[in-house]
Each structure stands twice: as C-alpha cells, then as structure tokens.
Amino acid sequence: MLFRLAWATLSRHRSRTLLAVLGVAVSAAMLLDMVMLSSGMRASFRELLLTRGFQLRLAPKGTLPFDTDATIPKVSEALRTLRAMPDVATVSPVLGGQLHVEVAGRVITAATIGADPLVQGDYEVVTGRAPAAPNELVASDDFLRVSGLHVGDTLSAAAGYDPQLRSFAGRRTLTVVGRAHFLYMAAGQLVVSVPLATLQDMQGSRARDRASLVMIKARDGASVESVLQRIKSALPSVSAVSIETAMLQVDKRLSYFRQLAFILGAVSLAVGFLLVTTLVTVSVNERLGEIVVMRAIGVVRGRIVLQIVLESVAIMVVGALCGLGLGLATARYLDSILSSFPGLPAAMHFFVFEPRDAWTALGLLTGAGILAGIYPSWRGASLPIAVTMREEAVA
C-alpha cells in the first residue's frame, strides 16, 4: 500500500514528475560522466600500458619512457644483464627517432620506432608481415595514405639529420612489408617501424648501442615488484618503472582532471538533490491536509516519512536510469573530443564505462534521494494534526 500510495501520488502530477525525472536524468548523466572521467583515464592508461603484457620499463636515468629525447647508453650490456635474470621472460628495446622519406619529389617525416620485430610491444601488424630483414619496415595507415605507398613498395629514407653539416647520418632503401596499428601513437600520426639495429645504424654515432626505452615482461608467477628491485640494483644507471610507478606519475599529472571531475560531479549531485527536495517539498505542502488525515486515521509518522522518502527516491532512481543512457552518449561524444587532443595516444580514452561507475552514480543519487526526502517528509509528519486541519479548513 505504501508503494502504491507513493506511486499514485507521483502519477497525480505526471508532467511535473516527468520534468523532475528529466532534470535528475541530466544531473545523473553529468554525474556518471564525471565518475567515468575520474577513473577512466587511469584505467585506460593502465590498459594501454599492459596491452602487450610488458609490466616494467627502463628509461634513461631521471626520466620517464619517451619523456625526453635522452637515450640509454650501452644498451646491449643492459640487455645481457636483463636476459640473464631468471624471472625476466622478454626484453624489448625500443629506439625512437625520425625517418625522412622521399616520395615523388617531396619529403615526408615519420615518427620511427626501432624495435626487435620478434619481441616488440609497440604495434600490431594488420596486413602483410613484420620486418624480417634490416631493410624492411611496417607503416601506419596514415603514413601509407599520405605517402601513397603500399605494402611491397620500396622507398628511400634518411635519418640522423645533423643541422651543422646539413646532412643525414644514414640513408637506406627500405621495403614496406606490412601495415601496422601502432598502440601508443596519436591518431593521424605518421609512423613507421624498422628493426632496432637499422634505426641505430641510420642515426649514426649518437644512437649507436642506445635505446630510448626497454620494455620487460616478467615470467608468469614471478613477482613484478621483486624483478623491479633486482633490475634497480643491477642497473643503477637507468630508471626502472613498473606499471604502478607509472600510474603514480599519471595520477600526479592528471590530478587536474580528477579534481575537475570531482567538483562537477558534486555540483551535479547537489543540483539533483535540490531539484528533488524542492519538488517533494512543494508536493508535501500541497497535501498537508491529506497527510494529517492519514495520521489522524492511524498511520504512524514513520510510515508517512517512508512514503515521502520513497517518492523522492523513485524520482531519483528513475531519473538516474534515464540518465545512464544520456551519460553514455555524452561520454562518447566528449571522449571523441578529448581523445583527439594532439600528442595523445589514439588508444587513450578519458571516459571508460565500467559497471562499477553506474552503480556508484546510482548509489550516490539514491543516497541523495533519501536525503532529499527527509526534510519534507519529516516536516509533513511532524505537523500538529488538529491545528493543521483547522488551518486547511480556513484556507
């Protein structure tokens, strides 16, 4: 009967209830988006780092991977040390650089990854194959589109430009053997990958026996943290970071987004709360006579409080469910805007939906619904019966 009465009361003013539900839906959508934003970037970045299963990364001392142009010297020595460690399963050195490709009289500059094709963790071959010889490369869709080249074509490339000598350190004729999807690159970026030794050689003496980054996969069952500690003690001249360390850095750098998400989420929750409090207060004021008569005929205060709180929670929950769809749609749109920010990996997302986010938003809104109903319900249930009936009769 309690549910029936609450539902019947809400149905009595359908348009008003509908407007309130829509208002809550907008508020819920905003809240869901902010909950997704606050955890989404972190989850997305973590997922990105773990895409190929590499849990550890080595970078030049005092830097983060690809944070600067600095490189790790004597990398072959470091690789030997790493490969000798029993808990290290895979070691993948990476050198970053640029290739200048001459195509039909124009020069195209492409970001270039020098990696060991057998153990690399930077790209996935979409068509063709990975490089198997020193003069082979794989390229991104955008590079192939801009250059007009196809798998099987050859190209003339140069690397290691010296501005003082105005010359390149190395030139090669390379063959495109595959089209690849590069995991950490921004959308639209022109990227190619050649074997590590090829890029080291083309970049000349400054890149000899150097790598920008070394990615490491621990053996199954091994403790990543203990592998990290062993690497740190064996290779004190490099920075070793685990996913967790990287995530801490990400947390620091993206704290602005989380604060923004928290503030906007709190604002949307407050708006929803005030909207429902106002609506339910108005509704209670309109039916003071009914409420005191319920008490007169024997309905206890607690039941009246519960009925009014139910009305409030019902508006919040229905609004939140409607807001879920709206929130997902707006999140997708906002994500497409933010993800196209220059320099960000295309695979990086700001809004990542996880069922936990929806439950969090629903829980917060339900809590706000309960709080929103408490004031008007307690006010209604506390009215003196005889006095209120007299005032109602006079009114």
Binding site: M1, L2, R4, L5, A8, T9, S11, R12, G289, E290, V293, M294, R295, A296, I297, G298, V299, V300, R301, R303, P384, I385, A386, V387, M389, R390, E392, A393
Partner: protein
C-alpha cells in the same frame, strides 16, 4: 469506569494562543458516553465543539483534564501510541472527506487496514463489504474526483469503519452536502449506530442532531445542556 462507558472526559480543558490572546476553547468539560450511544455535540461556531471532538479523538492534546477510551487514558499517550490507539479504536469522518485523491475508493478503505497489517486478501474482502454497506459497491474503483460529495463521504465512513472501531467521531459530516444527500448521510450514520458503533458527531445540522440519541449543547467552551432525546 463502568463497562458500559466507552468514553469518559473529565474536566477537559484546551487553551491556545491566537496572537497575543489566550483562547480558552474548552473549559472544564466532563462527559461520559456509553457503549452504543449516538451523541450530537451542537452549538454556535467557535463554541469549542470541534476542539472538543479533536480532544476526544486524541488528535489534539488537552491543556488539562483526562480522556479515557475503553479504560485507556489517551491524553497522556505518546504520539506513536496515540496513533496506534486511534487506528484500532476510533474512526474519523471529516467535513471535507479528506480521501486520498490518488487512490481509488476501495484503496482508500483499505488504507487503515493495511496500516493495521491485515493481509491483502482479507482487507480487499472487507473493503468490498464496507463499500457495499455504504451503497458504493459498484463504484469501488473510482477515484475521489470521480465521485460526488455524498459518495465521497460514504467512502470516508467506510474507511472510518475499516478496523471495526468502537467509536466513530464525525465533524460536520453533512456540512458539505446538499439536503437530499445530507439526509442519506444521516440515515447511513443511524444505520452504523444501530449496527453497534458508538457515534459522537459535531454538527450545526439540526436534522443530524435530531437523529442522535443524546444532544450536548456547548457554548463558550462549556457544556450548557446535555439531554437525551426520546424514541431514538
């Protein structure tokens, strides 16, 4: 209190402030009502009769004196206790009906029974019986807005009788009804009384007062006359 006395008020007083002025709405009224009686409280507007009814029904607290119903003092009960007591022992009928507009007639009648935790099947059965008793068996699924004033008051009476109270308190039950409908209501209340419910009614309606077994006249918060009417 004798077994025959279902309600007793002793030296009942009610004062309240209206702005700066202290109003003595009820001044030391003593009243005993026996089981099965039908009492009409009459008097000019502002004489304290509705206040008196509220005090007898436990929906207002007296400034002094006592109210005892079926041997239980209700004037000192805590709110929750008084509410429970009203649910099981007192039926209320108001001048403006005060049905729940969102509920149908049968749901309105079910409301006190649901509060008394009667199971759904039993309460629907009883609500149907009661609506048939007040002549509205065919209109049980109508909402108050779809019923006439007289029909709404009949639903209110059915609601008041839902938990089989011993006492029915009615405040101007014919006040919003036309003469014909009012006469029907008077007949219905008389029937309810004949069927065993003690009724105390506050009214300006001479016909309604004329149907009662006993008439209590109030003026300025005191009882000035209390007499039985013959052949009722």
């Amino acid at each position: 209190m004798s077994d025959a006395i279902v309600l007793a008020a002793s030296d009942l007083r009610r004062e309240y402030h209206m702005g700066e002025e202290l109003v003595h709405a009820v001044r030391g009224v003593t009243l005993e009502v026996t089981r099965g009686d039908y009492v009409a409280i009459v008097g000019p507007s502002g004489c304290g009769k509705s206040t008196m009814l509220n005090l007898l029904g436990g929906i207002d607290r007296p400034s002094g004196g006592t109210v005892t119903i079926n041997g239980s003092r209700i004037d000192g009960m805590r709110d929750a206790e008084a509410t429970r007591f009203r649910l099981h022992n007192i039926g209320f009928v108001f001048q403006r009906f005060y049905l729940m507009p969102a509920l149908t007639a049968i749901e309105n009648v079910e409301l006190p029974m649901a509060e008394a935790k009667m199971n759904a099947e039993d309460r629907v059965h009883r609500a149907r019986e009661l609506l048939a008793y007040v002549g509205l068996g065919a209109r049980r699924d109508h909402r108050p807005a779809q019923l006439s004033g007289g029909e709404q008051q009949r639903v209110a009476i059915a609601r008041a009788l839902a938990n089989r109270p011993q006492i029915l308190l009615a405040d101007e039950p014919t006040g919003e009804l036309d003469a014909k409908t009012g006469a029907d209501m008077i007949a219905l209340l008389a029937q309810v009384n004949r069927d065993g419910t003690t009724i105390i009614v506050v009214t300006h309606d001479e016909d309604l007062a004329g149907a009662a077994k006993r008439v209590v006249h109030m003026r300025d918060g005191v009882v000035v006359d209390d007499h039985r009417q013959d052949s009722r």
